[in-house]
Symmetry: D2
Subunit: 301 residues, 4 copies
């Protein structure tokens, strides 16, 4: 169990089988940084191009196609004091006719106060002068190399993870990915100081981060789409459009999980989900939407 | 402010401009009962036909098209000790190919223990022998008469409410409906002792209820789709397919609400929603799906 | 076989169990008129309110729930010389961001020359000065009373027909409807002198019509959604959102049809459809979209 | 204008920036072959792995990002006498509940008679003993390297083309692609002897092909999604899910085309499309669906 301090020197805007920046072992911990969605670092310098430049890939020794990679987020912490968002609802989250009422889209700047754990608008519009929002730092885009030698833009997401923009991927959470390429080739990026459900203005509060994570390989454990776990829930993430299909993918994967790991049959897993399932909307902005299917641990057999 | 005890003698399977069963005033309270989705009452007798037979309609004096009807649920309480659910995931909430693995669908019976506030399966499958779920009694289908003299099946939902199957419609909540017909013509029915998000097995724990509600008319206040309020959130409900469109409707209505009642402009309402919005999946089973857009009250200006 | 000349005196904006305007027999023919989508008649007078006012309902003696009503359109002919359309693409048929480029929507007037069988813009914009389009008169909204005593707005469509806005419903076509109410209660309206696929500007060339149709009852023949037939194709219409679901409904019904009437099994009907099916987009504008699944008659066993 | 005879020695299952197999000039013609979707060649040998192995990429000298590549299909001809299809409707093109009635899926073999221009089932099920279908050879999957160094699976499609499975891509058609990478990097594959609309059984009649095409570079002409042209229509292809979004992409691109190349303004392009547009369903089976928006040339200014 080694702890690696990794200082990135270049970034990727696809998740794919790029040359590893570091080889790490099952159980190792990495301490590193991520730039924001536009490629700006802790000092505010634009050091690379977006969208969502990724730190990595990290080659996890022993991880092979068919295995599962567990990534525990030990810490996700903004490393500067300002972030930015868009300032208008995305056109795809409102009635199509309502778009006619929208002003041109601008960028809004935010103070990010890590000590007080809040963010505030630098130039609040009327009515939001007193508004502040508690921080809940998360990673919007991270994942592994996809199958068949694909390289997929960090604009979008799929079975390999990617730009899921789910505000539940905070520190303390373990994310699970299907391994499609030798070494899994984990990348991380796109930090948000906080984000509402759905990323409906097209951004969270975009910011650079200090990130620490620990990886584990689950040999021979095959999953179909990203999964995760926190103190209260196990969960699955479906990445697709429309939201209906994202929900279908997440629900199917949760149903499989309840059968494979908790001893339930088709009916038992259905009955349990039917009365206990919770859904969370990851994003409804990116090319693929993300729906998260959550099962409270306290109801698990 | 009168309290009416109303004992239904017939039920409706559409929401429409049916003959009122009772005329009530702004501020009045009604204490009544609902049968379950199959038309079975507190004694277990099937006294009417489904789907989702409605008690009502209640004519609210003074409510006119263009007004808003507020319905506060004072109490929603199961009035018998058993409920039922389906036992297999709905075919539309899983990957289409996964449907091939499904056994024939059956009905499952549940003990509903109102005193201990839990429900348990009568014949639990393997692994669920110890499983119980806390009650959270709700109404799945209720609403007002729709516009233009329509009569719409209680299978589905739209701007007038109907079969939204949102597990947030519990006691203590106030629901708001656009008024489309004189008197609003409120109906209530389809109680669930508890229901997971999405109603993904096609039912909650279906049960008959004792219901008490209080109505208020907001003269001249026009809304476009059902809204609601509880201690923590204001919320809007979009009823449509796909889920994307339900979300668009709900988000648009919330954005309008923030502007009309909280003094925000287009940008301000967008910035606030962007980092604070929460979504809840009502149902993803009925002909129209329901997505709920929630804004925490603590962030409102 | 009687031929009825029916002169409407009132119209309906829902399809439902309204009082019949005429009782007709299996095999009878009706000659009548329809007003345009805004309620304007052959003289251009607005004599009733929209949307899509319906002539009828016609009670077909002997038609009972579970039967099928066949409606053959003997003739659909514009009975005035001008029509109107909207002049901008519907906001839901383009990329959401593209809506920002749209000017305010206006109404455009068209000359409808029945003799020369063409329509031309009254005030053509730059580049369309020479543009004319051949007439192909059709009915956009027609159908029968829906199930369970529902009354459904003529804005939308479902299993009972309604506002399908499919440009294939022209003279010479036979439409088939499931019968849900005694007498079927057929209504007709919403004539278009011509319409592109999808009704993507929200209208065809809206016009009043002289209509002649002949009805037949298929006793004991049960169908699930509208069907139709012309010289070249049998076809089915799915009415739902998203378009994917409309396509699922239409395809399922065609697959059933091939099995029930043409002696094919599940595999045979699949193999035939797989290489021979054609789809047509009815509308992608109304609350429910319409997708048409077509099977060329020449390939039928 | 050189004619190249290219004999492939390896194939790709992603469209991406792979090493070119041949450098060709603007105006050059290539005569080559494609294997079927499973990697079987003219002799029936499986010489590579699927899905949809691609011949290429061909580097077109001078083609640069921002240009358009025109690919004219001079000839697409099956080069063997048998093909194969699946034998059951795809589960995503029918009502989800209807999937329960489906038998296990098998492969069906077909005789492909290029001389008589028909295909027949080798072992026809009951009722299809006499069934034959005229050939209409097409390419299901072809396109250029996508943007940002992506490599995208030949299972799916996007702005760069890919697995569109549109039965209109036959010989005589010119396809247009946005160029995202130097040389465009054109690949071709996935021949179908014939295919119904939508590829609703998940395949056309899959077969290896002799293909001849000629390329042209349109310098400085930027398009957003594949376009095409045949004797009767200009058309655009939207690749996305749901079908609604595919239609939005295709319609937006056609509207842009009418404005940029035919002198129409927003209103003029809308009015023309409104009454003249035709849609064709490419595929409703692959991860991205394809909708084609067609404008008859005879109506163009």
């Amino acid at each position: 169990m080694t702890t690696h301090h990794f200082f990135p020197t270049h970034y990727h805007v696809t998740l794919g089988s790029h040359a590893p920046v570091l080889y790490i072992a099952d159980g190792d911990t990495v301490i590193t940084t991520t730039v924001d969605a536009h490629g700006k670092d802790a000092t505010g310098q634009k050091i690379t191009s977006g969208p969502n430049p990724q730190t990595g890939p990290f080659f996890v020794n022993g991880a092979m196609p068919g295995d599962t990679l567990a990534v525990h987020f030990d810490s996700i912490l903004p490393n500067r004091t300002w972030g930015w968002t868009r300032d208008t609802l995305a056109t795809n989250v409102v009635d199509p006719d309502y778009v006619r009422t929208f002003p041109p889209r601008e960028i809004a700047d935010w103070y990010v106060d890590v000590e007080r754990q809040i963010a505030k608008l630098v130039s609040p519009p009327r009515g939001l002068e007193q508004f502040s929002v508690p921080l809940s730092p998360m990673l919007g885009c991270f994942g592994v190399a996809p199958a068949e030698g694909q390289a997929i833009s960090t604009m979008t997401s799929a079975e390999h993870g990617g730009n899921m923009d789910y505000n539940g991927f905070v520190q303390g959470v373990t994310a699970y990915f299907p391994v499609f390429a030798p070494g899994a080739l984990l990348c991380v990026g796109d930090g948000h100081a906080v984000q509402g459900d759905g990323e409906i203005i097209g951004t969270g509060i975009e910011i650079s981060m200090d990130v620490q994570f620990t990886v584990r390989v689950r040999k021979g454990k095959t999953i179909h789409t990203p999964r995760g776990e926190n103190a209260e829930f196990i969960f699955t993430a479906g990445n697709a459009r429309p939201l209906d299909q994202a929900l279908q993918i997440a629900t199917t994967e949760m149903h499989r999980w309840l059968m494979s790991d908790y001893g339930l049959d088709t009916t038992g897993a259905s009955l349990l989900l039917g009365q206990c399932v919770r859904y969370a909307v990851g994003n409804v902005f990116d090319p693929a939407y993300t729906m998260v299917c959550k099962m409270p641990k306290r109801f698990l057999p």
